[in-house]
Amino acid sequence: MTQDNNDHESVFLDRVRRTLDDSADNLDARTLSQLTQARHRALEKAKSKPSLHRRPFWLSLAGLVTAAAVVFLAIFLTRDPSGPQHYSAIEDVEILAASENPEFFADMEFYAWLAEEMEDAG
């Protein structure tokens, strides 16, 4: 890419950014009010979200029974103690037995990246 082309692209991108900034700065009053309401609703709902400690006992028990059934099934299906499947079953048991939200494990890749970023930053 030539220097001239780079300059043109930079000017073009600045213009696009300015246009996008203008469009965000000049949203109509109705949209702004709806965004504010959406923000307040999100914060309110988060406050009213029941915590794990307030979950009914029977619900926790049902969860534990289900998790135990899944663990036994996983161990039963991967009984061969040698090979990578054995370790995979152990990892599954760790995930099932962990107190973390299952979504945490779905975002493991993200947290690994974040840890790496923080290490890089010092």
Partner: protein, 183 residues
Amino acid sequence: MLDSSQSMERFLASVERRAFRMAQIATNSTDDALDIVQEAMLNLVKRYGAKPEEEWKPLFYRILVNSIRDWYRRTRVRNRWRSWMQTIGKANEVEALDPIESFPDPAAHNPEDQVIIGDSVAALDSALRILPPRQQQAFLLRAWEDLSVRETAVVMRCSAGSVKTHYARAVRTLRKLLEDHRP
């Protein structure tokens, strides 16, 4: 010092307008964009509110991009269903086309025309909507949100190489659509 609820409110207020515009460009619908932003805000607060503040931005955009992707999926299924129903309807009853409905809208503009009439926001929106969704997201996250290639890759759940490709293609298409037709 601000408590976490105040910090979250301040963060959401700082990103909501841009997030709304991203969703509006993607969906071409104000109502759908508002729903997507509200869903993203709610998920961030519920799932990641306890995380350190510096993690909120990439998490929020990751949720937003996921919500937009879900919207595309739902719309695709709805459109397929609708076109299937229309096919059935047409087979059952022969309905004459309304000549007024089928007449092209003389007020409608393509991106090139919109640049010429000086409506830069509308022209840019139209040009961005021509881009495939992944190119559109890569461009907005990199060029507007100023996320790095790595951050964009994490938000979009793809490789850094894919981000670079999507972004380069988006810039080339947008320049062709907007710059060449500048009066």
